[in-house]
Amino acid sequence: MYRRISGWSALAFIQSWFIYEPFFKARIESHDFLHDPELIRRGPGDKTLAKHLLGNVTALEKLASKLKLPDFQPLINRAKSGAGPIEGEGALYTKETALSFHQLVYGTLIWYGSSLRRVKVVWEGDYANLASMKSAFMDLKILSRQLTYILCPSAYQQHIKVITMKGSGVITLLPKYDQREACLKFGSEKKIRDSKDRLSGKSQTEDRTEAHAGLVSSLNEVYRFIQIP
């Protein structure tokens, strides 16, 4: 799990949520939420996520404070609202909550990644430090549940559609190999990536990616060759 989230492509995805936030904000503003049939009613998993948010308000405040993000009050208000997914049939993801949801995904991914790294560091290092280990595992337990609740409901899928303009701007979120080094640096800065990994070499994910990039290049060559009569 650590390898997955600390690989450059995952880090590139997380970084793009931060870098392109102003663009995504503009896309949210221009999206017609009222007439989007997929956003009128709550979707699968929205109620569970809303309940989770209401049950973890303190943890969310802590997350916002640690990562210097705005609080997630729009989402919490919507979850509490009579028209929201718990008491009513309305969607959790609305024009008012979209940016807050975006920041929640970003913050949770960052904190989840850094919790995994902390578990790895504690696990590989000081076994005797049970308090650190317990704390690292507890953080990870809460965050992994939160991330699962965020990534599974329809709200997440709808958000991707809105910020990519139903897919036409999806390229913004796709990892770009030439930005690999910047992504790894971002991962280290955000403490998602263990500095030891940076020094000792590449993770399995990166190995795979390099192999994949090399093979894609070869296959492109083959493809071009076949196209020539």
């Binding site: 549940r145 190995d207 060759f225």
Partner: protein
């Protein structure tokens, strides 16, 4: 090739979900095991009514032998299984796969992509280009190096290759899902497609 936007969005959504694949799979398995336990409990109760019925195996509480059978709630920790080594495809199998790809019919014209008499020279050139590209790349370490080595050995040594077989990692959650759904041989799915359907991570 133009990939549909909707597919790209769906792919992106699914890819990000793989960050927590183990946790999602763990919960799915717990639900699966709970359903299994319920089904077994029902089956067990029926067996108690009909003493000749075959007693099914289940997740039983060993201390409880009464008719009011209780089942232990399933909570699965994250886990992994050992990797296995599989045999390499032979050189001729690789050649055949390339040939088959080239001999496919173009749906728009209903003609072969490449005329059959021109296939073998094309296959030879494709393999030559791949070999050339594999040689041209700088040294790769770790897994990338092993994959490159495997391809090089396969392609350059032809039929007499002696490359070590690649390590294939079994999808641990899928294996457990299979075991949870089919705990005994009499219920094991009989076709590959049935196994594939079970192993799909949703």
């Amino acid at each position: 090739m133009q990939v549909e936007q909707s597919l790209r969005v769906e792919g992106l959504v699914k890819w990000v979900r793989t960050f927590t694949a183990q946790i999602i799979a763990k919960r799915t398995l717990e639900i699966e095991c709970e359903s299994l336990a319920k089904a077994l409990k029902q089956s067990e109760n029926e067996a108690l009514i009909d003493p000749d019925a075959k007693r099914p195996r289940g997740i039983l509480d060993p201390n409880n032998q009464s008719s009011n059978i209780s089942y232990v709630a399933v909570q699965i920790s994250l886990f992994s299984v050992s990797s296995s080594r599989y045999k390499n495809p032979s050189f001729s199998e690789i050649e055949t796969a390339i040939k088959c790809a080239l001999l496919q019919r173009d749906e728009s014209t209903n003609e072969n992509v490449v005329p059959s008499e021109g296939v073998q020279p094309l296959v030879d050139r494709i393999i030559a280009i791949i070999c050339q590209k594999l040689d041209a790349h700088p040294k790769w370490d770790g897994e990338a190096g092993r994959i490159r080595g495997m391809f090089k050995a396969l392609l350059s040594n032809g039929k007499n290759h002696t490359a070590a077989p690649p390590t294939i990692f079994v999808h641990a959650e899928a294996v457990l899902a299979l075991l949870a759904k089919y705990p005994d041989n009499s219920r094991t799915p009989s076709t590959n497609q049935a196994i594939r359907n079970i192993c799909v991570v949703r």
